[in-house]
């Protein structure tokens, strides 16, 4: 099957370098397999992160030839240009070591956007009857399969330019909740996403929607938040 030439970004937050590896190519081989092969066979000190292996956990995203991707679900043949791969840690997040980033800033923003369900009922009460085709529910359901892999966050130039910006994933989750009839604090969510770092920072470049491996559409969700926060501000005035 031949050999892949793989350049891997190495080092910790202060000292970065690139190292070149030759990796045997196989017919069924993902980028995660390539990274694993290097650690298991060529350089036991290489650090990377993965968990589920099947695109459910969002732990293994990296920059592959400059593009943020789930490495577990990216077939080498789809991305290797002339048998070459460049692998680097996910953009817009602090590097811990080699290919591992600290995802805390991403999740801190998730919490800052109040992107967490606010109960309107308790466990002793029956569940809400909500038809799946109700308009609010359809909008809420559109973004619900996000696995918080931070690919959209890495793809976003606004995040790169303004470190306060909450980013596409947190804002999309906020929009889901604003449309969720079960959420008990929808106004508070709109307040949380309309201030500094909020939805109005978005320049609608759409890299989030372009790169989402789950085919979700954070761009439209953020547009929805922009409309709804404006409407709320006008109501207040």
């Amino acid at each position: 099957m031949g050999t892949l030439i793989v350049n891997v970004a190495r080092g910790d937050a202060t000292e970065r370098r690139s190292e070149r590896f030759e990796v045997p190519a196989y017919e069924s081989q993902t980028v995660l397999d390539v990274v694993s092969w290097i650690q298991q066979n060529a350089d036991p000190t290489l650090s990377y992160r993965f968990a589920c292996r099947v695109g459910m956990c969002g732990s293994c995203a990296m920059m592959v030839n400059g593009v943020p991707r789930w490495t577990c679900r990216t077939h080498v043949q789809k991305v290797a240009k002339g048998g070459a791969l460049q692998i680097a840690p996910l953009r817009n997040l602090p590097v811990i070591k080699d290919l591992v980033v600290d995802m805390d800033p991403f999740f801190d923003k998730w919490v800052a956007a109040k992107a967490v369900h606010h109960p309107s009922r308790g466990r002793a009460e029956p569940m809400a009857e909500i038809a799946p085709d109700e308009p609010g529910r359809v909008t809420a359901s559109a973004g619900i399969e996000c696995i918080n892999c931070a690919i959209c966050y890495a793809a976003c130039d606004t995040v790169s330019g303004s470190p306060d910006y909450l980013g596409p994933a947190a804002l999309q989750r906020a929009w889901t909740l604003v449309n969720d009839a079960k959420d008990g604090a929808r106004d508070a969510i709109l307040d949380a996403v309309s201030g500094q770092g909020g939805c109005h920072n978005c320049h609608s470049m759409g890299s989030c929607t372009t790169h989402c491996p789950n085919d979700l559409d954070p761009l439209s969700a953020i547009a929805g938040l922009k409309r709804e926060t404006m409407r709320k501000a006008l109501r207040r005035a």
Binding site: Q29, R53, V111, M127
Partner: protein, 577 residues
């Protein structure tokens, strides 16, 4: 080597369904307690609850009852479950599902009229499984994760537990030794109460489904601490794991059960359907039967290029398949396989571990201060877990643990660790760092081959004895294999070594418990003892240290041959397909 010492009130190990629920409930029950949550990966991202495809079993009316769910669970477990645990599981699932929807914020699939949609999995006599498409686990864990992240809990991510450290007199747990993986340093975290919810995950088999972080560390720690473990021979195999060669992590991952239910065909290497040779239900037989059917074809060398069989869906119409199973079709396509129109190689794959630490219905163990929930705890499933009972178990008992610990923590206090045990555990983890670096992955492969061949889908006395010898050889070689210690920060190869140590310990116990069970029940099939044995004389296996014994099953709620369903209740409420 540096050791940092840290104290907390409540320490939770793991952030799957059990760990996250325990954190929420402990905080509700003991709002003033300091709660620390520690996890081998990232919060909510590692672990197996997130990977649940099918759904959540819960009796919510429409003719279905807690009693019916309970009877299905007992029969599915072939009369081996701890009946009080199974009852609590079925009863509390009703509360937990409402909590998930109303308080945690999950949204499960609805019928057109807005009511909850429920379906029936194999082995169930009612439409009972609540779900979110075929990605139920993502919805449950993403919502739980948000709730936990938003609360002021202490979070120790990429902190791996490596040893339970008791008090000097051995009467109670003092704390847990961990490695802060990012920095590569040891930390002893003392706590008044510890919940172990690290998940099982039988990844010592050549083909396996669990998350890559899963290496049975919890049960290995419990074994070293001398706690009694039960049902350790019970490894559930899922019949259709993806088979894509030895060099890819895709191999072993699950292709969902629904493919066979919808009419998918299993074909051997010659392209012939074979399941009707083994069972009148053919491809739709239960997981254990289909796994054995495939294994038998493999033994006869009726195999596909990579050594398994095929699943074929195309006769149902590629467009129909793509529409009905979008997630599976896309996953296969990303990996280079055409599930909708072609055929995909599959193999039985180790999926779930029914065995675990012996606990009471309140998650307490024999050691004061230690509680266990989720896949680390044994008893609720007996010899076989029904699809949909896994996530119900982890969330129900995680919540129970949080409540119980929250109530009991006030009367518990911090304890001094046995410094000799602490030193021994540190020495155990440092063992490879002073030896000549070797190739850990070769040993992992050897262990996975040994367990698959000798302690796998079909077992014999001679096979398991051979397996034990192979495990011992592999462990001896592991002890001679070193790891480069130049930089211990995020040193995956050191953790691979520690993973292997856990897997060797638990593999040995699986084989020993398998030898002790001289009949065939649920997931455990003995070619030399193919009968299930007298149900009323059912026993479960117990491992404690080097001792393996049998203990009689207590029929505290129902005895074999009887039912707790009212007279005249139909056998099943599920319409025939």
């Amino acid at each position: 080597m540096r050791l940092e010492r840290h104290d907390t009130d409540i320490l939770i190990l793991g952030t799957g369904g059990a760990g996250l629920f325990a954190a929420l409930h402990a905080q509700q029950t003991a709002p003033d307690a300091k709660i620390t949550i520690a996890v081998k990966g990232l919060i909510g991202k590692c672990g197996c609850t997130r990977m649940v495809q099918g759904g959540y079993n819960v009796a919510l009316g429409g003719g279905d009852t807690v009693e019916r769910h309970f009877m299905d669970t007992i029969k599915g477990g072939k009369w081996l479950p701890n009946q009080d645990m199974a009852w609590r599981l079925c009863e509390q699932a009703v509360v937990r599902i409402r909590e998930l929807e109303n308080e945690v914020g999950c949204f499960f699939d609805r019928n057109a009229d807005g009511s909850l949609h429920q379906k029936a999995f194999a082995g169930q006599t009612a439409d009972r499984t609540v779900h979110k498409g075929d990605l139920t686990g993502i919805e449950i864990i993403s919502r739980l994760m948000e709730q936990v992240l938003a609360r002021p809990l202490e979070k120790l991510q990429e902190h791996r537990a490596i040893g339970l450290v008791p008090t000097a007199d051995g009467s109670a747990l003092a704390g847990v030794l961990m490695i802060d993986m990012r920095r590569g340093v040891f930390r002893l975290v003392r706590a008044k109460a510890v919940l172990m919810a690290t998940g099982g995950g039988p990844t010592m088999y050549k083909y396996h489904t669990p998350s890559g972080d899963k290496t049975m560390d919890g049960l290995a720690m419990a074994l070293r601490a001398g706690l009694p473990l039960r049902d350790m021979e019970m490894v559930q195999f899922h019949p259709t794991g993806l088979l894509a060669g030895d060099h890819t992590r895709m191999t072993g991952t699950v292709l969902e059960e629904g493919l066979r239910g919808a009419g998918g065909h299993l074909l051997n290497g010659a392209g012939h359907r074979f399941m009707f040779d083994y069972d009148r239900r053919g491809d739709r037989a239960t997981r254990d039967v289909v796994s054995r059917g495939i294994y038998a074809e493999m033994q006869k060398s009726n195999i596909s290029p990579n050594g398994g069989v095929y699943i074929s869906m195309s006769h149902l119409g590629p467009e129909h398949v793509a529409q009905k199973f979008p997630g599976m079709v896309k996953r296969c396509a990303d990996c280079g396989f055409d599930l909708a129109a072609g055929k995909v190689e599959v193999v039985p794959t180790a999926h779930y571990f029914m065995g675990g630490v012996e606990v009471d219905v309140d998650t307490r163990t024999a050691m004061e201060g230690l509680y266990v929930a989720g896949e680390d705890a044994g008893g609720a499933h007996g010899s076989n877990r029904l699809g949909g009972n896994g996530v119900a178990n982890s969330t129900v008992y995680g919540g129970v643990a949080g409540d119980v610990i929250g109530r009991e923590v006030a009367r518990l206090s911090l304890r001094d660790p046995d410094e000799a045990v602490l030193e021994a555990e540190i020495a155990r983890a440092m063992h490879p760092l002073s030896r000549k670096p070797g190739h850990v992955q070769t040993l992992r492969n050897a262990l996975q081959e040994a367990m698959w061949e000798d302690v796998g889908v079909m077992r014999t006395q001679a096979g398991m004895a051979r397996g034990l010898a192979r495990i011992a050889e592999i462990r001896a070689e592991l002890m001679q294999t070193g790891v480069d210690a130049a930089n211990l920060a995020f040193n995956l190869t050191w953790h691979d070594w520690l993973n292997m140590a856990s897997l060797c310990d638990v593999s040995e116990v699986i084989a020993k418990a398998g030898l002790a069970r001289e009949n065939s029940r649920g997931a455990h099939f003995r070619e030399d003892f193919p009968e299930e044995g007298a149900l009323e004389a059912s026993y479960f296996t117990r491992v404690q240290g080097a001792q393996v014994t049998r203990a009689p099953v207590q029929f505290t709620i129902v005895t074999p041959g009887e039912t707790i369903l009212p007279e005249g209740e139909p056998e099943t409420l599920v319409a025939a397909p």
